[in-house]
């Protein structure tokens, strides 16, 4: 487990967050995923769900049930905090389950890559170089959020990092692949958004009626290839 003990604070009166840090790091993210997985396997009375993010895990619970089930504690928050602290003693960052490597084809045609030229120009390289650098890396899915199935992945090579657009688009097409700072992500649905769009995929990131509605899971590794 991480040497520095994580910060635990209430996220309202029905949830608490265990914060391992405030930086994008594979190690911290593995801790977050492992802690979430621990509570999926080891439910407690009143547990609702566990949600991993970049470097934190949030546990949602029903305070009424927790208070009744853990009368020794002054508050439900104290009880769940105690459970989280005990869990932190027992998990390791390797408890993140099976790692999957997923390949995702991308189109880089001009209609799909709305901001490719901008990303190239702001990094003083050519569009082809941006694509080449982008495809060279394997990315980790740190978390899903923002939209159903929207994946926050990282980290892109520093030669192509680009801040978000000053003015977000009101409509980003479904399947768009974007860059925001050192993050990359795929718009699972058509949505407003401010990421720099460099390509588009046909792979359905979100299929509401599938057994697993989202194509990617936190902890997955993703390789992008050029779509033929």
């Amino acid at each position: 487990m991480a040497e520095k003990s994580p910060r635990i604070f209430p996220l309202g009166d029905s949830a608490l967050t265990v914060e391992f840090g405030n930086v994008i790091s594979e190690e911290l993210n593995k801790n977050a995923i492992a802690l979430a997985a621990h509570f999926d396997k080891n439910n407690f009375p009143g547990f609702i769900e566990s949600v991993p993010a970049y470097a934190s895990t949030t546990l949602f619970y029903d305070p009424f049930v927790v208070r009744k089930s853990f009368p020794k504690f002054f508050t439900a928050f104290d009880a769940v905090k105690h459970l989280a602290e005990a869990a932190l003693e027992n998990i390791t960052a390797d408890d993140t389950g099976t790692m999957r490597l997923v390949e995702i084809p991308i189109y880089f045609d001009s209609e799909s890559s709305l901001d490719l030229e901008f990303v190239a120009a702001s990094n003083n390289i050519s569009s082809d170089e941006v694509i080449e650098i982008f495809l060279a890396k394997t990315y980790r899915v740190y978390m899903l959020g923002f939209l159903p199935g929207f994946s926050y992945m990282g980290e892109v090579d520093e030669r192509i990092t680009t801040p978000r657009r000053d003015t977000p688009r009101t409509v980003v097409p479904k399947g768009s692949v974007g860059i925001a700072g050192s993050q990359t992500g795929i718009y699972s649905l058509e949505s407003p958004g401010g990421w720099q769009i460099i390509g588009r995929t046909d792979v359905e990131m979100f299929s509401p009626n599938a057994k697993e509605p989202c194509y990617l899971r936190p902890g997955d590794e993703v390789r992008f290839v050029t779509a033929k």
Binding site: G12, T17, N22, I48, F77, P208
Partner: protein, 323 residues
């Protein structure tokens, strides 16, 4: 047989208490904005409290009963009429086949709910009847109700049942008002605000802006400032989280909020007071009052205990209608 939506109203949707267990996939819980209203109405009719309800804004829907039903309305008061007769919130009524429910005037609040005894027949998506408008799924085909929609009822009521003078006890009904003080607990980044902003948050009042919807209410007020610039990594957010936007204004996340967010969290509206804020509309005002987590939990527990007593009483009466 069903209810028939004759006029759809503005943003009329099917909701329940939300879709839990999928936040990690970015699928937010959604659900009724005023969960207390949805729960109270369902319990009043002897339903499971998570049964689907119709959430309405003003102008609200016009609804035609194609079969007999026992129903109740609550939340906002839109001056409801059943075949021209004024009916009250928080009481069960019998609608005979062929009758029409209309909402004629906005008296108070912004979201009204309709429940029927036995519930609506709605196909659940990921365990919930709530409409996810962003994902265009859940509820009625993932969209607001439209004229001509039929929402089937689960229960067959043959003859007019005896409905005694029963209503929801007034201490369970939230004290809705256009300028509530809602209780909050501090958020993780509250200590990073300037001392004067920390004080300001709980002294000033804030106006709900036009730019407010089921995802969040943007507030207008004196700007709130961080002592030093601070970048927060995307982290999980919740219904009632009060975030500080880069322009110094606040947003309260509501039922359709995104699962994650990267803005500093200055506070969280307590569960007990969420209905008060959920019933506000543009131009209404809100003030915040800071309490400790133990008090927030105690308030929630107190409400649940009272609700338990109430549930037993209602179930007894509702059983008689269903026979």
């Amino acid at each position: 047989m069903s209810i028939l939506i004759k006029k759809p109203g503005i943003l009329t949707t099917i909701q329940d208490l939300g879709r839990v267990g999928y936040r990690r996939l970015g699928i937010n819980p959604g659900g009724a904005m005023d969960r207390t209203a949805a729960r109270l109405l369902n319990i009043l009719l002897g339903n499971d409290e998570n049964e689907a309800v119709v959430e309405m804004h003003f102008p609200a829907a016009e609804i035609f009963f194609e079969k007999n039903a026992v129903f109740a309305i609550g939340g906002a008061d839109f001056s409801a009429e059943l075949d021209g007769e004024l009916i009250a919130n928080w009481r069960p009524y019998f609608a005979e086949k062929g009758s029409t429910l209309r909402f004629t005037k906005k008296i108070s609040g912004n979201r009204a709910y309709l429940t029927v005894c036995g519930g609506f027949k709605i196909e659940r998506w990921l365990g919930s009847s709530s409409t996810n408008l962003a994902a265009k799924t859940g509820g009625k085909d993932g969209r607001p109700l439209a004229a001509g929609d039929h929402i089937p009822l689960s229960l067959q009521i043959k003859a007019k049942p005896r409905i005694r003078n029963c209503h929801i006890s007034s201490n369970l009904i939230p004290y809705y008002r256009p300028f509530p003080t809602v209780r909050v607990i501090v958020g993780a980044e509250f200590p990073l605000l300037t001392k004067s902003s920390q004080g300001l948050l709980y002294v000033h009042d804030f106006v709900v802006s036009q730019n407010s919807n089921r995802m969040g209410f943007r507030l207008k007020g004196a700007p709130v400032e961080l002592a030093e610039p601070f970048e927060l990594l995307s982290s999980v957010a919740s219904f009632g989280t009060i975030q500080l936007l880069p322009d110094g204004q606040l947003i309260v996340l509501m039922a359709d909020h995104q699962t994650s967010g990267g803005y500093p969290r200055v506070g969280h509206v307590i569960t007990r007071d969420l209905p008060l804020i959920a019933q506000l509309g543009p131009g209404d005002k809100v003030a915040f009052h800071l309490i400790e987590i133990d008090e927030a939990e105690a308030l929630a527990a107190e409400f649940e205990l009272e609700l338990n007593f109430y549930r037993i009483g209602c179930k007894f009466q509702a059983n008689s209608w269903q026979q």
